[in-house]
């Protein structure tokens, strides 16, 4: 299914009753089986946008819809991978991955097999009975990814999934995510503020302006797949990242000087 974001806007009211416009008017679509990155400086409302698409936050105006052939079975429209992992500390790795399946009413053998399949896919076998606090950051986010993949959503939403990880782990996890994407062609909308990360992974990069967030440009990435780390020296890679940096450099500078940067988490 494709996701259409149509004239979505979001205004928050702060404690003093003033209106803060987080999203101006955003239009874009993510095609089925596409890997799209949503890129913007901090505080541009990209996580807000993702929450709206996930149905976790109402939009002030506009709408989001999914169109196309309905996914088979009881698959949900979206599943989210959170920046802070959001694993349930009282559930083992296996039980965390099963959560979405429980809520979908998938029981018995199917639940066991699906859990098994996505634990294997994300390299978690042997860790099924561990609790989250016993795992490293990278392993925890694997659980987050396995949990979201397991419900086989129409669109997988990833909210800066690797930004809480150290640089080396992040590189490895990006590689693994690309590998999983090659195998599953799961439609992905990937939020990040890292240009290299966006260009390396995505088919298209939607560049958002700073608050109020609006689409500055949609940049296609013409690097061939499967992507390899070596491609980060490729002229196409360099040109694409330069072009995006040109778009948001002034935005990022302005954001740096902004004395009331309200990140989405603090609202």
């Amino acid at each position: 299914m494709r996701v259409v974001v149509e004239r979505v806007a979001k205004t928050f009211h702060d404690r003093r009753g003033r209106d803060v416009v987080a999203l101006g008017q955003v239009d874009f679509a993510v095609e089925s089986r596409e890997f799209v990155a949503l890129l913007g400086p901090s505080g541009c409302g990209k996580s807000t946008l993702l929450s709206i698409i996930a149905g976790l936050l109402p939009a002030s105006a506009g709408r989001v819809y999914f169109e196309g052939e309905s996914p088979p079975g009881r698959a949900p429209l979206t599943a989210t991978v959170f920046q802070e992992f959001a694993l349930f500390p009282w559930r083992t790795v296996r039980a965390n991955v099963q959560l979405g399946l429980e809520e979908l009413g998938i029981t018995g053998l199917e639940r066991v097999e699906r859990t098994r399949r996505y634990l294997d896919m994300t390299g978690l076998d042997g860790f099924e009975s561990k609790y989250p606090h016993q795992l490293s950051g990278g392993m925890r986010q694997r659980v987050g990814i396995a949990r979201a993949l397991a419900v086989e959503p129409a669109v997988l939403l990833m909210d800066e999934p690797f930004s809480a990880l150290d640089a080396q782990t992040r590189t490895l996890m990006m590689d693994e995510l690309l590998g999983i994407w090659e195998r599953t062609r799961q439609t992905i909308l990937y939020v990040t503020h890292n240009i290299q990360e966006a260009v390396f992974m995505a088919d298209r990069v939607i560049v958002l302006s700073r608050r109020p967030g609006e689409v500055l440009d949609v940049v296609p990435v013409k690097l061939p797949r499967p992507r390899r780390e070596g491609q980060q020296g490729d002229p196409i890679f360099v040109q694409t990242t330069d072009r995006i940096w040109g778009l948001i450099k002034s935005q990022a500078q302005a954001a740096l000087l902004d004395d009331e940067v309200v990140t989405e988490r603090e609202r």
């Binding site: 996930a54 149905g55 976790l56 949900p76 979206t78 599943a79 989210t80 959170f82 802070e84 959001a86 349930f88 500390p89 009282w90 559930r91 959560l99 979405g100 809520e103 979908l104 609790y131 989250p132 606090h133 016993q134 949990r147 419900v151």
Partner: protein, 265 residues
């Protein structure tokens, strides 16, 4: 000029807190031995403070005659009922008030108004309503347990991580799923803190109730022995209460470790 060599020393040494395990045991032993000496040497008349050896002998005697058992079981039965009813009601109300805004608006002011009442002051009223039998004693214990349980559970529910609630909802969880799979497990550590607080309150109220209106139970045993100047029996009652308190605290700790596995493994 002489060349100096300055070796770095640990400047935090005075902040260390060693375990002193032996001292812990010795302190308790010292108390008992000191107590024994004070009475053996005749400093204090054994009518006012019987020696620990005498208390132990009397306790064994009472256990053999079955007298201690009767009082203990009577008290334990009241405790179990009162504690159970109070805890279940407290957790239920705490979850409801913590999760549903309407329940919060209705119940919060009522709890704020009734919580400061010393529960033992309600015993005469409870006796009037429920009679002088077991029900009024169970009710006063239950009331004493209810408030710390409700207030702690409420705090635990309010502390539940909003991110985890969002995550559960994003995976399709509805209201009851969120309560069962996120809110309750999040609140468990606070629930156990409430149980430990409640256990102390329960013991206090039980003994007070048994000294006001009862014909059996540890509280009754202590009061009656005092009236008859049977100080040794009185001390047996007090030691049993101390053991009950320690045992309940230990049992709740063990239960907590068994239930909240994810924090201890």
């Amino acid at each position: 000029m002489a060349v100096e060599r300055l070796v770095v020393v640990d400047r935090t040494a005075f902040l260390h807190r060693p375990d002193y395990r032996v001292v812990r045991v010795l302190a308790l032993l010292g108390l008992v031995v000191g107590w024994e000496l004070v009475t053996r040497t005749g400093w204090v008349s054994s009518l006012f403070l019987p020696a620990p050896s005498g208390v132990l002998a009397e306790g064994l005697d009472m256990a053999r005659s079955g007298q201690l058992f009767v009082h203990l079981m009577t008290s334990l039965e009241r405790l179990a009922w009162g504690f159970g009813v109070g805890a279940v009601a407290g957790v239920s109300v705490g979850v409801a008030v913590g999760f549903f805004a309407l329940a919060d608006a209705v119940v919060q002011p009522i709890i704020a108004a009734t919580f400061p009442i010393p529960k033992i002051a309600l015993l005469p009223l409870l006796i009037l309503w429920l009679g002088i039998g077991e029900a009024s004693k169970v009710a006063v214990v239950a009331l004493g347990v209810f408030f710390p349980m409700a207030i702690n559970t409420y705090a635990g529910v309010r502390q539940a991580d909003p991110l985890l609630i969002r995550a559960a909802v994003s995976f399709g969880a509805g209201r009851w799923s969120v309560i069962r799979k996120v809110i309750l497990p999040s609140a468990l550590p606070m629930v156990f803190a409430g149980l430990k607080l409640g256990a102390g309150t329960a013991l206090l109220l039980l003994v007070a109730a048994e000294q006001i209106a009862a014909d059996a139970g540890i509280g009754f045993l202590i009061l009656q022995s005092g009236n008859l100047m049977e100080t040794t029996k009185l001390m047996v009652g007090i030691v049993v209460l101390s053991l009950l308190g320690v045992a309940s605290y230990w049992a709740l700790g063990a239960l907590e470790r068994a239930v909240i596995r994810w924090r201890h493994t």
